[in-house]
Amino acid sequence: MSGGSPLNIALPKGRLGEKVYALFAQAGFECPAILENSRKLIFENEEAGVRYFWVKPSDVAIYVARGAADIGVAGKDILLEYRPDVYELMDLGIGKCSLAVAAPKGFEENPERPLRVATKFSRVARDYYGGMGRDIDIIHLNGSIEIAPILGLSDVIVDIVETGTTLKENNLEVREIIVPISARLIANKSGFKFKRDAIQRLMAGLGGNGK
């Protein structure tokens, strides 16, 4: 069923992407050129039948859903927020952190007015508080979420928490964990049909169920 074209893999730029590449290379999908220090973003190893490209972590799911990549690795936070129509084939167990609600130490919620929530993850926040029937006012930000409660922009934040150091340094504390996060192997639903053998070989190499 597989055509002659390589398996296109979108990797998230940064430390997580480098870890993922190491796992994929170990699974038999090596592309040594990617380790060379260059500004190139696309790397191909014809012999291994693989082509990698580095993209912004939040864009991996778009590349995969739109078929520019057959597979990719994205955080569960991105999948929950953007809900791309893709297969979520494996939990790679790396890039572990949490999506959590954090507030200034000692913050007391006033249930008589909507809670002001600053976040990059508007959909996740809306679903979470919607599930509790809590009225909220979402303030969508694209970065430096932690300063929103300090400056009075919001009551709480919904954000990624890894070690909690940034929160501590800004006098914030975790109030509730919404969901644990880790890196997931995702695949385009059409691409999976036509490159099934290669994708299953990779999954088997990663210790997953490659059938």
Binding site: I62, P84, D85, Y87, K189, S190, G191, N209
Partner: protein, 324 residues
Amino acid sequence: MEIRDEVLDERERIGFRLREAYHRHGFSRYRMGKFEEYDLYSRNKDFLLSDGVITFTDTNGRLMALKPDVTLSIVKNIRDRGDGLEKLYYHENVYRVSDGVDGFREETQVGIECMGRIDSRTIGEVLGMAAENLGMLSDHWVLEISHLDLLSAMVDAVALDGGMRDRMLACAGEKNLHGIAQICREAGVRPGAEQALLDLINTYGPPRQVMPAIRKIAEENGCGAWARELSETVAAFAGTDAAEKIWIDFSTTGDLRYYNGIAFKGFIEGIPDPVLSGGQYDALMRRMHRKDRAIGFAVFLNRLDRLAEKAEKAEKAEKEEGNA
């Protein structure tokens, strides 16, 4: 008067070729207007492929919509046939918000609907036509088939509450085995039932390879009748050229408030989204107080633009090679 092929664009050419095929199979054209009362869509919002509907107030004050869907209008306007069978095809524009696209888009789709006495022969004919359509579009295609009653029964067997059931079905649609295992852990599902569900979702491929395993899983979990129905439905493809391009795959799901029984999706190599989607929708018929059963499919012509792009590129490369 004959229309010369070169005055048609690729989308029109494909649309007319598919219509010709439907006509050959004894289907009649169903024509409809561009507008419909909004109420029809507000009552069946979850049936629509997208959330948005373009509305406007008509001169008599009624709230109208530009059609986001074809099937609902046909169901509304065709009377029950009882023991008979209504076989219709359409070629229409619909207006919806596509995934990942800001704003509304006009999309063209052709397709068929059968309403009345739907038996295994009719289901087989519809699946055969879906496979034939895909074969007319490309040599590299896959028609993925599942059985929603079987999937639903297997999910019900682990006795989840409503929210968990929806999450479980969403995980099935994503081939998300770790998600299914997580929900089973949260719900305290017994390991045997969990494993059966995981095995069902993880068993996909041509019927020749996977049907024995699916029948075994289904029989062991009291769902044998559905598996036998699925097996009989796909048996017509055995030994044909299409046999290896037909896949059983339980990640093909649908909203169980509208769909039931056989569900299917068609994929073409190089096109990221399914180009064909269909199945039985008896549940929708019941919701609209209809007694007939129904099955149909749509082909999304906008998604085929990539085929034309590919053909153009190949033609250009051939010309360049000739010049060299």
